[in-house]
Amino acid sequence: MLRTFRADLHIHSCLSPCGDEEMKPFAIVTQALAMGLDMIAICDHNSAENIAVFISAGHKRGLAVIPGMEVTSKEEIHLLTLFERQEDCLALQDLIYQNLPGENLEGVFGRQTVVNERGETIGINPKMLIGATLLSLEQIVSVVGSLQGITIASHIDRQAFSLLGQLGLIPEGISLDGLEVSIRTSKGEAQKRFHDYQRFSFVRFSDAHRLEDIGKNITHFLLEKTSSDEVKMALHHQEGRRVVEQ
């Protein structure tokens, strides 16, 4: 039985250097539930070290948390990646870590806090997570596909770090699963501006770096249950699953 689920699948935790320190499991889950969300995804820059504790924190309170990561390609394009299984997300993280040069400058970019479920700091990630990997757009899309994941081009309406900002147009034959539009661009405006790309599914997520932004830009999905595989089916209009236009 299909029903509509409210999803915000692009939220940064305190692990992202630009994410607020308050972006911890209990607070994020509380805010997501208060905003009436059924499903969220934690997508930190080039790292998934906080996903397990968020999944567990969400599970206890009836909120689905999808494992994910926001990967930066060598062209400096941000790509939202989502997975059904944590192991697959962590397999991508291994590849990212082998291809991510540099060390974080905490004073410049911010602190990269690894937390436990109670929100206590258990480590600081030393890598320069804000930097670009050495992997091309095509390589990332292909690896994510082989891990049965989803790749969505982040905030294509923004100039900075977006597929259209960096590369001007969407390369032919690329198997992206969807395009994300940020809160800055209205639905009507997006339809006009991205008319040429109607073959892709469009989604809207908050890209929240602060608690108050969670759930402010969301997508309704018609699914059987909350899972990354179901979202993937919706993005490709399979078996009745789809994005519900509001």
Binding site: E75, S136, L137, Q159, G165, Q166, L167, G168, L169, P171
Partner: protein, 116 residues
């Protein structure tokens, strides 16, 4: 001035479009944001960038640019070379960083402002 004159002046390496170096250069544009190149480059410009993705060929062809120079010794992706050969778009590479190369190009008379 043609792409060939630039190639000769700076001993650049050609990676694609060897037989298309006779195009007249109307000016230069330096940027790594392809959306910016689409918005601001002009027909016949020589384009200086560090992006190596195949889309540089699509953008240069669409804007009818005279050619692309990759700086810092960056090599075009294999698909980029293939596409450039198909489209007849010259790709040259220079070991110089963008700032240095643009300075040298300016000195030999290539301006950022195209006449048209």
């Amino acid at each position: 001035m043609t792409v060939f004159d630039i190639f000769k002046s700076f001993e650049l390496n050609v990676r694609a479009g060897k037989d298309r170096l006779h195009e007249e250069v109307t000016g230069g544009y330096a940027s790594d944001l392809l959306s910016d190149v689409i918005a601001h480059s002009r027909k016949g410009n020589i384009w200086i960038t560090i992006q190596t993705h195949p889309n540089i060929v699509a953008v240069a062809t669409m804007k009818e640019l005279a050619g692309i120079i990759l700086t810092g010794g960056r090599e075009p992706d294999a698909d980029t070379i293939k596409k450039a050969e198909e489209e007849g778009m010259p790709i040259l590479i220079s070991p110089l960083l963008t700032f240095e190369l643009v300075g040298k190009l300016y000195k030999i008379g290539i301006s950022g402002m195209s006449p048209c």
